[in-house]
């Protein structure tokens, strides 16, 4: 799992039920828009994240698109983050070779 993906998943998992806008995720994950949106598109195509358009509160306000983790997305994210932190601990202890991404995992 790459660091940017890890950050995005952590941002989502702060409140898995909360809808998150792209800009909010950018701030929470400290990522640039050019890194975040391709990641979101990938997560969405894997059905780990779902998106929807908000209903504008005021007239003339542009509706924003928000993203939410799906149930499966939350499960996979927790699992992926646990694996990533375990692999990092092993690597820092110098006891094991680098963990490889399993086929079908988040990579």
């Amino acid at each position: 799992m790459t660091r940017p993906l890890e950050r995005v998943l952590r941002a989502f998992l702060d409140d898995p039920a909360a809808p998150r806008y792209g800009y909010d995720l950018m701030k929470a994950a400290s990522l640039k828009s050019g890194t975040l949106y391709p990641l979101l598109a990938r997560l969405e195509s894997q059905k780990l994240v779902t998106s929807a358009w908000e209903t504008p509160e005021q007239e003339g306000q542009r509706p924003r698109k928000y993203y939410k983790l799906t149930g499966e997305g939350a499960r996979v994210a927790r699992l992926g983050l646990a694996h990533a932190s375990a692999a990092r601990q092993r690597a820092s202890a110098g006891t094991a070779p680098r963990a490889r991404a399993a086929p079908g995992s988040l990579g």
Partner: protein, 141 residues
Amino acid sequence: MRGEGGILRLGEYLVGRACRGLPAEQRDERYREWTAELPAILHDPGIRLPWHRAARMLSYAAGVTRGTALPSRQRMPRRVVAVIILELGIFASNIWVAARSPADWVNYMLAAWSLILIAAFIGVYRYRIHRRGSRAHAHRN
């Protein structure tokens, strides 16, 4: 904030440019999504200084351009870029020589000729890319 409209329009322009690199079916939705974020960034209560908010907004718009950049196989190869730079250098030197001796019409001819050479080179390159793309498309179908 003063000049907000202009900054927003600049952001929209950058997002519009970024969306040109996307497949047609994604373009509209992405444009709507990304331009809807621009006013939100420009009014972000978490950033105190207006110029900082404006810079953040423009950085966001420029960032999506980077995110939608063409994959490397669609970019100009370095070899082609090197030839174009070389030809531009020749053109610039011809202009410089022409400026030093304005009475000599041969220098103008050389400058015009080098400009035609650049245009022809880019034209041939684009034609070859287009033909390769058409062939690949025909092969897929």
